[in-house]
């Protein structure tokens, strides 16, 4: 028989396994989602296809933005969750830790056995999460291909990406755990809060209250500034409502005679007051879920609004002067798909990502498209934006290109302002039209572009998305768009904004669904840990009620109502705050509230169902378990009273 730190940690894991269930489950789900997002971000094929297909680059930008925001939210809540759960677990094990302290355990000893414990549970949860995350990625890629009209995408695992993910996950785990340990510090004597700290706490509360009032004023007058204060308002608001406002209101309830109802109401007030921080955290999580689902609706509106009837076209760029087999294939596919449409071979010269186009070729294209022709003589030149919005941008690449043109002695005319969309990727970033006299004298190597004029799907005569996408897939397949090849490089010049709009909506929905599920899981885990913590205390209360002569039915009612209120109040506060945000958003968009009320109700209903599903098992199981335990014969709480 012997005991070392590892054995001690393992025994503790077994002893406190009920507390670790929620902890591990939340980490597993967080890791699953983070891994799948991370795989999407680091998957070369996905990036390649997304870049090629979305020459407007919006989808990939939105992908990165939303996945990044989702990862930040998960990171924030993971740290918060691990921190508070660890602190709660330490509180729960206070007696053991005190015993260890009297036996001469210092901080270093404590760190050894506790970190081993956390690393074992956390490590297993992270590994399980990563495995599930990879499975989810595979499923995600299949779904993304389907819902985003993409060609098949390979599932790739990069060693360095996995290493970075594991490193990041363990770093988060350790940071949150060490922060909780530092706050708890089991090796130092118990100290009461100093006068200075008490004053700082009062001052903080006063400032927070002022900020909250300011936030609510902004919300009621529907000012833009509310967006900035929203995260603070939901936290501070929930904290104050639970800690002060609701208990104060409940105190006003004074029935003539003492009844079970009065007892329930007082208990609810007590629970809200003593667990205000926890409830505030639950409210933030629910508010995040509400906001996230609300965003989907918002994007649904924007996405539909994006629809337009622009032309679908294909620009094929090849870094050689000679036609290749691939070019032949794609020309044949395009001719088969669109037999009557215009095609034009253009010789260009390229230096890096700067493309030179002769004016004659440019004008021929403009004539074909019934757009205004231009002139360029001598060393005159003008810029052709790859997409219309580029006219308003002034990126470093563009500045550099313009500077290079000036250095080469070109006189820059005003850029062309037609609404055509040319290729926009890392091969073609800037296009300059030069005179026919100057073009042959340029020393840059000759390349070729083939422009295929293609109809919008409405013009093509089909209203069926599936049929339209079949054509797109044929083109993609002929061009082998899913293969990673730096050159030759081709672009689908897809000006169909509606496709991008729908892609964005679907993608955001996807990210939000996963995020919302996780937010609800973490909320339920918080509640689970809290209930584990309060189980013994609750049992004592139950025993007292039994001793006072309360019947089983009354006690069941008491438990259901009390925990129902504690579980639902954060949700109601979240709905209140989310509704404030909603009305500010609608007003700021210059819209009337009334037509959107149905939408708001639908939106809140979706989240309500999710919330109920997440808390229902706790709500039903916990009171039942407490009731059963409290009905047992002993006058004192049984040692194994945790749920």
């Amino acid at each position: 028989m012997s005991i070392n730190y590892l054995q001690y940690a393992l025994r503790n894991i077994r002893r406190y396994q009920r507390l670790y269930y929620g902890y591990a489950l939340t980490i597993i789900i967080a890791m699953t989602i983070v891994t799948s997002y991370w795989n999407l971000l680091t998957n070369g094929s996905f990036q390649n296809v997304a870049k090629i297909l979305s020459q407007l680059n919006q989808v990939i930008e939105m992908t990165i933005l939303f996945v990044f925001i989702a990862e930040l939210i998960i990171l924030f809540f993971s740290i918060l969750f691990i921190y508070s759960t660890t602190y709660t677990m330490l509180e729960h094990r206070k007696n053991d830790l005190r015993t260890m302290r009297t036996l001469g355990s210092g901080l270093s000893h404590f760190l050894k056995y506790f970190l081993i414990e956390v690393l074992i549970v956390g490590g297993l949860a992270i590994t399980a999460g990563m495995i599930l995350g990879n499975v989810l990625t595979k499923m995600l890629l299949l779904s993304v291909v389907k819902i985003m009209f993409l060609p098949p995408i390979e599932f790739e695992l990069s060693f360095y990406a996995i290493l970075a993910l594991i490193g990041g996950a363990f770093l988060v785990l350790l940071i949150a755990t060490v922060l909780a340990i530092y706050r708890f510090r089991p090796d130092r004597p118990v100290r009461s809060r100093s006068l200075f700290r008490r004053r700082v706490w009062i001052l903080t509360q006063v400032l927070a209250l002022l900020l909250l009032i300011y936030g609510y004023v902004l919300a009621f007058v529907r000012m833009y500034g509310f967006y900035m204060l929203f995260p603070l308002v939901i936290f501070i608001g929930s904290f104050f409502i639970c800690r002060y406002i609701l208990p104060w209101l409940i105190q006003l309830y004074r029935p003539c005679r003492l009844s079970l109802r009065k007892l329930i109401v007082s208990e609810i007030a007590n629970q809200l007051r003593t667990n205000s921080t926890l409830i505030a955290l639950g409210t933030i999580l629910t508010s995040c879920a509400l906001t996230a689902v609300g965003l989907v609706f918002l994007f649904q509106l924007i996405g539909l609004d994006l629809s337009s009837q622009n032309q679908f076209g294909l620009v094929y760029y090849e870094e050689s002067a000679q036609p290749t087999k691939r070019l032949k294939d794609i020309k044949q596919t395009m001719t088969d798909a669109f037999p009557d449409r215009y095609q034009q071979d253009i010789e260009v010269k390229a230096e890096g990502k700067r493309i030179f186009l002769p004016i004659s070729a440019y004008n021929k294209m403009m004539r074909q498209l019934h757009l205004e022709e231009r002139t360029a003589n001598g060393r005159q030149s003008f810029f052709v934006p790859a997409r219309p919005v580029q006219l308003e941008e002034n990126t470093p690449t563009m500045k550099k290109a313009e500077q290079a043109m000036k250095q080469e002695g070109f006189k820059l005319l005003s850029p062309s302002s037609h609404d055509l969309v040319f290729g926009y990727n890392y091969q073609i970033e800037t296009i300059f039209v030069v005179s026919d006299a100057v073009f042959p004298t340029l020393k840059q190597p000759v390349r070729q572009i083939v422009v295929f004029d293609t109809p919008a799907y409405h013009d093509y005569g089909t209203r069926d998305w599936k049929q339209w996408m079949k054509i797109v897939r044929n083109i993609q397949s002929a061009a082998k768009l899913d293969e990673k090849q730096p050159v030759p490089y081709q672009l689908i010049n897809e000006t169909e904004d509606e496709i991008d709009g729908i892609r964005i909506v679907r993608l955001v929905t996807f990210v939000v669904i996963l995020l919302t599920i996780w937010l609800f899981v973490i909320n339920a885990s918080f509640l689970h840990v809290w209930m584990q913590m309060t189980a013994e205390q609750e049992q004592k209360r139950m025993k007292t009620l039994f001793a006072l002569g309360f019947g089983s039915r009354n006690i069941r009612r008491y438990l259901l109502m009390k925990y129902g209120a504690v579980l639902l109040i954060p949700y109601l506060i979240s709905v209140f705050h989310a509704f404030l945000l909603f009305q500010v958003v609608v007003t700021q968009a210059g819209l009337e509230m009334k037509p959107f009320l149905n939408l708001a109700v639908f939106w809140i209903s979706i989240v309500t169902v999710g919330y109920f599903l997440s808390v229902l098992p706790i709500w039903l199981r916990y009171p039942r378990h407490l009731f059963r335990k409290s009905s047992e014969s002993s006058m004192y709480p049984t040692p194994n009273s945790r749920v």
């Binding site: 028989m1 012997s2 005991i3 070392n4 730190y5 054995q7 001690y8 025994r11 503790n12 077994r14 002893r15 007696n95 053991d96 005190r98 015993t99 260890m100 302290r101 009297t102 036996l103 001469g104 355990s105 210092g106 901080l107 000893h109 090796d187 130092r188 004597p189 118990v190 009461s192 040692p639």
Partner: protein, 254 residues
């Protein structure tokens, strides 16, 4: 070995508590000292202060002439790990471990090799008559056996000073007698002990008894007669201090 000078402790809060106001006493090397007094007289606070688990509000505690207030945190930890052995009324065994493993915890903290530690533990367990219970879980044995395990845990690293907070408070008469015999035997080997107790029977095993009341030492007894006569003197002193039946109770209300 221990010198306590003008020791006081205040717990500020909504209701300020002052369990100790002015405590002065000395404990010589090898002495077995009992601290008695009614509930709320500051006995447990005194033990916590002696064990450096809490900090005095004023006054000083000198251990071998060194003020514990000058100890840095690591020195305090080392002091508890090497010099001190603590026994609790509620045993405070770690219920995730077996009895044997509980006894080995101090050696794990001091980094002793497993084989040596095991040998020492088995030897001590035989002495405490719990050698056949070492693989049992905490909830599988009786209160007396748990307390003997707790004593084993406090003794395994051969501390110079044992602090015991109501070591027999949760035990029956037979178990109390056995535990006190073990402690007296250890004291005879030169180990210094400070025992907080309500039980005059336990105090009669000691050679020095301190009576705490209202936060200070009201009287002290030194034993220079057989245990039975000393027991009578302890009872008389308690009566003089206004002790009643409740204060003589061996079981402290929880």
């Amino acid at each position: 070995m221990i010198e306590v000078k003008q020791l006081g402790k205040v717990y500020p809060g909504k209701v300020t508590e002052q369990p100790l106001t002015d405590v002065n006493f000395r404990v010589e090397e090898g002495e077995m000292v009992a601290v008695m007094g009614p509930s709320g007289s500051g006995k447990s606070t005194l033990i916590n202060l002696l064990a450096t688990l809490d900090e005095p509000s004023w006054g000083s505690i000198l251990i071998d002439g060194v003020d514990t207030a000058t100890f840095k945190r690591k020195e305090m930890t080392r002091f508890r790990r090497e010099t001190l052995g603590i026994i609790f009324q509620e045993f405070n065994l770690l219920d995730s471990l077996t009895l044997g493993e509980n006894m080995l915890v101090p050696l794990m903290l001091s980094g002793k090799k497993a084989k040596l530690a095991r040998e020492e533990m088995e030897q001590l367990a035989r002495r405490l008559q719990i050698d056949d219970l070492l693989d049992k879980q905490v909830d599988e044995v009786s209160g007396g056996q748990r307390q003997r395990t707790a004593i084993g845990r406090a003794l395994i690293h051969t501390p110079r000073l044992i602090l015991a907070d109501e070591p027999t408070g949760a035990l029956d008469f037979q178990a109390t007698k056995h535990v006190m015999d073990v402690l007296a035997e250890l004291n005879a080997t030169g180990m210094t002990m400070v025992i907080v107790t309500h039980d005059p029977q336990v105090a009669s095993y000691c050679n020095h008894v301190l009576f705490l009341k209202d936060g200070s030492v009201q009287t002290e007894l030194f034993r220079d007669e057989p245990r039975r006569i000393f027991f009578q003197r302890v009872i008389e002193s308690l009566s003089l201090l206004g002790g009643d039946e409740h204060q003589l109770s061996a079981i402290r209300p929880t």
